[in-house]
Structures are given as C-alpha cells and as structure tokens.
Symmetry: C2
Subunit: 407 residues, 2 copies
Amino acid sequence: ALQRERFVSTMKEQAEIGGTADGGLHRLTLSDDDKEIRDWFMEQMTAADLSVRVDEFGNMFGRRAGTDPDAKPVLVGSHLDSQPYGGIYDGALGVIAALELIRTLNDNEIETEHPIEIVNWTNEEGSRFQPAMQGSGVWAGAHDLEEEYAKTDVDGTVFKDELERIGYKGDEPCEPPEEYEAYLELHVEQGPYLEENGKDVGVVTGIVGFTWGAITFYGEADHSGPTPMHYRQDALVAAADVITQIRRIPSTLGERTVGTTGYIDAKPNSINIIPEEVTFTWGFRDPSDDVIDEARRRVLEEAEWAAEREGLEWEYEDRMRAPAVEFAEGCVDAVQTAADELGYDSMQIFSGAGHDATHMHSICDTGMVFAVSENGKSHNESEYTSWDDCYAAASTLANAAVDLAGG
Amino acid sequence: ALQRERFVSTMKEQAEIGGTADGGLHRLTLSDDDKEIRDWFMEQMTAADLSVRVDEFGNMFGRRAGTDPDAKPVLVGSHLDSQPYGGIYDGALGVIAALELIRTLNDNEIETEHPIEIVNWTNEEGSRFQPAMQGSGVWAGAHDLEEEYAKTDVDGTVFKDELERIGYKGDEPCEPPEEYEAYLELHVEQGPYLEENGKDVGVVTGIVGFTWGAITFYGEADHSGPTPMHYRQDALVAAADVITQIRRIPSTLGERTVGTTGYIDAKPNSINIIPEEVTFTWGFRDPSDDVIDEARRRVLEEAEWAAEREGLEWEYEDRMRAPAVEFAEGCVDAVQTAADELGYDSMQIFSGAGHDATHMHSICDTGMVFAVSENGKSHNESEYTSWDDCYAAASTLANAAVDLAGG
Ligand SMILES: NC(=O)NCCC(=O)O
Ligand SMILES: NC(=O)NCCC(=O)O
C-alpha cells in the first residue's frame, strides 16, 4: 500500500513551486517555475533509482526495470504544468501518484515482469501555447515536431526558444523508443459527476474530443460619436454576436456538448474608438466526433454572418482538434478491478477534459483513474480534492499499474 | 488673411511629436509626448508675445491684450492630446488655428477691443483617463478638481501624479479668472456630413450629450471542458449579450443615437478557462438628454438580465455624462457670417463628438467651426482633412474671433 503521509507531503512540496498566495498554482509551461518543478522532479526520479531520460520536446521519463527483458513497459504519468492561477491537483496529482507507486515498489522490493516508466508530459494545459496535450501529441505522432516548436504565446515568444532557455530540450527523439504495454493516468475529474453520485473514485472509459480555434474580425477604427451606426464596421460587435452563439450552440447539439470562449483581445481598446480588430477563441467538446465537427461548422457559419452584418474581413485559425477516444477494455477492467479490490465505491465515467491519455490511446492500451473534484471546480485556485480522495485514486492507479505490469 | 504656408508647416511640425510610422498621432494625455508638445506650444506662445499661464489642472492659456481694459476676453482653442493611434488633426488643428490667428494679428499689427486668449485643454480625449473634456470640465466647474486628480488609467497610474511628473501642474486655480466674452473652437467634424453634402466648412449649432460607463460581471473561473453548460457562470457570455444590445439599442431610440463598446478586458483570458471577470464600457450619444438617459437605463437593464441568466454578480460605474448643448445664436451667427464673407459653402451641423465647447457653453457664449473629415474618419491614423479644408476652417475661425473681439 502507498505510504499516505509521504504521498501527501510530496503533493504539498510540489505545490510550493509556483504556488500562489491564494493556495493555487501558477506554473505555466516552460516558465521559470516549470523549470524549477522539472529540476525537482528530476531529483526525485534519480533518488528513486530510475533511469532517466528527457526527449527533445521536454517530456521527462524515468524507468524502473522489469524482470522479463522482453516485456514491454507500462507507462504511468501526467503533467506538472498548470493553468494560469489554476489548482494544485490538476496534473500534479497524477505525476506524484506515479512517483509514489515507484517509491512503494522500491520500499517493498516488489519486482514486476514489465518495466514501469513514469512520465511528466510537456505542456498538457495548452493555455500558454496551443494545442493542449502538446508533448504527448508530438510523442505519439499526432503532431509534427517542427510545427510545434514554432508555436508562439500571446507575447510572440517561440516554444522552442523557451524550451532551450529552461534547459529541457533533451537529446532523445520525441517518439516511443519501443512498443509499450499500456498507459495509465490518474487525474482529477474536473467535473461534478463523481461528487454528485457520492463516489470514491472514477473509472474512466474515454475522453471527449475537442475543437479549438481563434477567429479574428477586421473592422475600421473610427470615432464612437459622430460615426453613424450604418457607417460602422465594428469588430467587437461581431465577436459578441458569435460569443453569445458559442454559449447557445451546444444546447442544439448534444447532452454533453459544451462550448466556450475563454480568450478575447480587442484593439485599440479605447472607450471612444470603434474596435478595429478583435481576436477570440472557440472551444467545443463532445463524446462524438460528428458533433464536434458540426459545432465547428456552426461557429464558422455564425462568424460569416456576423462579418457580413458588420461589413468585416475575417479569418480563423484552427488551434486544436483532439479526437474522442474510448479506452481499451483491458485497461478499463484493470482500473475497475483495482477499485473494487480496494473496496472503493466507483463509477464509470467519460472524461469531459482532455488528457495526455488521448494521444497514448493511439500508441497502446490506455486507461485512466479519476479523483473526486469538489464542486467539479478546476482551472481555478479553489480547485479542491480531499487527501482521502487523492489517496483512493492513487491507490487504485498503483494497483492497476502493478496488475498490468505483472507484479 | 492667415499665412497658409506657415499654418501648414506648423501643423506638420506639431504632428512630429508623438507621430506614428503610419502618419498618425499617439500622444496620450500626460504622456512624455504630451509633455513635449506642451513644451513646444509654450515656446510658440512665448514667441508670439502672449502672456502665458498654466493652471493647476495643466490647462495652458496665452493672452493677447485688447485695447479696452474693461472688455472681456474672447477664448479660442482646443486640445493637443490625441487618441491612441489617432489622427494628426483631431484637436491640434484647433490649437494651431488659434495660434495662427494670434500670429496673423501680430504680423499685421491689428488691435482688438477685447483681449484674445488661446488655450490648450488637458485631456480632451478621455481615452487614457475618463471623462473626456476633463480639463475644460474642471475649469468650467462641471467636475470637482480633487475627484479628477484621483482618476486612474488602466495601469492604475494616478492623474495627479502624471500631471506633476510631466511638470504641468501649474500655479493658477483651475477656474475662469474673470468673465469671458465668448469661446470659439475649430475642430475636424469626425463625421461624414460635410463631405456627403459637398461643403467647405461647417457651422456648428450644438453638441450631442453622452453617457459613458463601465460594467463588470463577476462569474466563476472553471474548466471549459468537464463543466456542464448549466453549471457555468460565464462573465464573457453576459458581456457579449450586452455588447450586441449596445449595437441595437440606438435603432430603437433616435435617428442620431449611437452606441458603442470600445473597451473590453477579460480575466483570466485563457482558452480553456471559463472567464471569471469581464469589464467593458458603454457609450451612447444623442442630441436629446432624454434619449441619452433612456439608453443608459436600457443598457443597465440588459446587464441585469444577462447577469441573471448567467448567475453573476455585477456592478457598474458611470464614467461620464455630458449634457447636450445648443450654442448661443450670437456665436453661430458670427461663424456663419465669417464663412459667408469668405465665400465658403457651409452648412449648419450638430456635432456628434464631444468637445471642450460643451463645458464652455456654461461659462459664456460658445460656437464652433468644423473642418471636413474625409470619409468621416477619425480616432484612426488614417484621419484626413485636406490643407484646403484646414485653411478654410481656420480662416472662418479667425474672422469670427476677430468679429467677436471687436477688431
Ligand atoms: N485536463 C486538463 O485540464 N487538460 C487541459 C486541456 C483541456 O482539456 O482543456
Ligand atoms: N472630439 C473628440 O474626439 N472628443 C473626444 C471625446 C469624444 O467625443 O469621444
């Protein structure tokens, strides 16, 4: 069994790097704080006798050997980057649980047939650089390395430059060095369903797909007073028209469909100038790829109408398209069995957030464990999971991993 | 007659201070460039033998004595600050025309019965600090000095600190030192009507009133994926709902009513976080104060509905309420007569932009001259008025001023 005190204190330790005054975490990918947490994680992996490697995209791996030289490794992990002013569990819980699994195997001198490898993926969050799940996406071959290197943040800083700056552009190619047996990831649910149903732990059966993109309207800056309404080409009014539709489109599609505009930037942003250029994002998610494609089609149609009404030029940029995935039965069963054997009350659940597991699904059998998220809240400093719930999920992950690794 | 070459070269000279690469002007009030243009203007006034004073709000005056010691001064001027990436005529044209009027009187040794005073008002634009027409408003007693000193820009910089920093917190009280005979101001129209009607110059009969304010919605940051639509408290969706209505409310009120959102700021502004706090502005203008008050009532009603739909807290802040004014007959006639005598084809027109003349109206008889704005465009680097049109308006202003000053 995992050592609860060490597990909790390790969780608290990681939360200090990039921790905010309000108890959250502001540890954006490739920031100075990301470098610091990576240095810390490297130390922990070395101290746990793992053989460590960093790939050219900054993904960090630590391997514990198995007894069978021909057995494929079981990969377990998540991410240590955070949202802007996000929570201390999102991502980190899965990495620390993987680390604790290794420490526990070491403490108890338990051997497994398959190697167990733990991983910290680069830029899972997708807030500073899009897409989300970027490191796992490149590693799994869903994205092109050079294209992702060239991505820029809102300040124009280039991904590759930042990766080099923090010293985590490793030597290994960003790709699987061999075949993998399975991938397991623990994450907080980030939604309300486990709590609403009074469950201890979630057995994840799949992940919604999503479409992300940005629309820019180009109007004409002009005086907000003497310019008659019918002379105007107001980029912000068009953006507002589309944003209200992004709230409403989901209700016309599916029960689980969600749509969000998280980002907006208006220029010149002066109280008495008609906005000339406005960029904003869309995001839609659903368990069905057809629904996702339809939502994207509709938002672009709304943009076309809004541009026509205001007499604007416009363009859009796709920023992400993650497929909806359903996990392999073997992994779902391993997680379900682990939860059952540990006596946890569980339910099967489809993830509404994206996870690195999305991309791992194309590489090997994949499964996930969810920990309860109080009030379903995340991407917020007040994100909260009790230590009991963290421990239940970490124990489930550990047992499922050892099961799959033949321990 | 005004010396055309000197007038044009002085216009070009001022446009170099804070000039942009694209031929516009970025000379925000109380910025370093504002200091520089003020220093330059001070030199020009001194060179023109004016007796100069700066008041405690930074308004700059230069007086040319009259022949009758009991005659009240005629005030002529406008403003030298600009919008962010605005045009080179807005404001500056009126100040340079006033300066050229003085130079021309000096050149020709023309005496006037009344003193003529020229003025550069502080912060007419209202972009960096609200309200607009701030310096003239304090001077005319429409605003309280200390309240306006305490205003902050979006970075939290305090007005009074900036005024001291650039060295233009003068010694004179910010109020009329005596009674004034009249106030005249030349400005570009900033709207399309003169050009549409093929006119040389505009005789302004009054100025629309306006209401400005800012609304802030407070929602909850949460994950844009696993958070079901009915759990959300999305501050940006509510803002978008209100912004689309700000485009539409004018069409339900009056022929000249306009409504604009020029500014928006969303937090945390991340593609996969539901926006938690959004601030945006409203601005409505109309020749009728009743219409303006009704527009303000309606936008606050829309905000209340939007907040209720999204389950948000919200608040608003009034940033400006300028009354609609109709100019005194004597000044309108003086401008009309000047245009007629100079042989310019003119039309009477109601201003859709705010001007310092709004506040002067409460102090003394007030009038304005408009120069043609090509395409009605302003608050944009591509704002344009031909030198012919600039000269026609400046000549009209000069003749009207000399007429009112008894020259
Ligand atoms: N799990 C998680 O928050 N991932 C970030 C990418 C996304 O789903 O928005
Ligand atoms: N004339 C002018 O642009 N004034 C600025 C204040 C306003 O009318 O918006």
